[in-house]
Symmetry: C2
Subunit: 118 residues, 2 copies
């Protein structure tokens, strides 16, 4: 699988109701949605994005699921490759944060544009 990254294309928040998506942008966005198309990954992103202080230790995430640590690590890697979270190792553990620009971009995608006055 390609190593997807959310990049600033200069039209970060073009909604689906607005400008036509070109093929390359559609392919890149499809990759982000593929990363989100898994219940465990959605719950991980939810736990990370709602964590007190804005970050979650992998040591706290693993306990929330009846899954092995390597499985959780795999899902975290997919989310990281999709650009929706970042991870930073500090000592024994990796700490994860949501990437606000990515979430804002996704929100903007589904938000109808505000009509401009005539």
């Amino acid at each position: 699988m390609s190593n997807l990254e959310l990049v600033d294309t200069g039209r970060c928040c073009a909604p689906l109701t607005g400008l036509a998506l070109d093929e390359s942008e559609a392919a890149e966005l499809a990759g982000v949605f593929k990363a989100l198309a898994d219940p465990v990954r959605l719950r991980l992103l939810n736990l990370i994005a709602s964590a007190s202080g804005g970050e979650a230790c992998v040591c706290d995430l693993t306990g929330a699921f009846d899954l092995t640590a390597p499985t959780i690590s795999h899902h975290l890697k997919v989310l990281r490759q999709a650009g929706v979270i970042t991870g930073e190792r500090r000592g024994t553990w990796v700490y994860y944060r949501a990437v606000p620009e990515s979430l804002t971009r996704l929100a903007g995608l589904f938000t109808p544009p505000v009509p401009t006055p005539a």
Copy 2:
């Protein structure tokens, strides 16, 4: 595949940064993202959501892709089952519309909650 529908759970716009997603909600949302995890389906949703008058005839959608009509129909069915578009047959053609409540729900999912004053 199950016939996914976006239903009003009474917490349509709970963002990922807010309340904990439960397993059933995460599974249902993952199904919606799976429907969106395809470049052709994203471009179809984009064409439908941005169509003049709010609806697009399948006869206009097919021409935008180098794909057969049955393939386009399959993708439209997946989007319809995910609850993001509706289709209505009138005469020879089916006309598609985006479901605003579904798009608003998805936008809300990625929108950080507005802090409430203390």
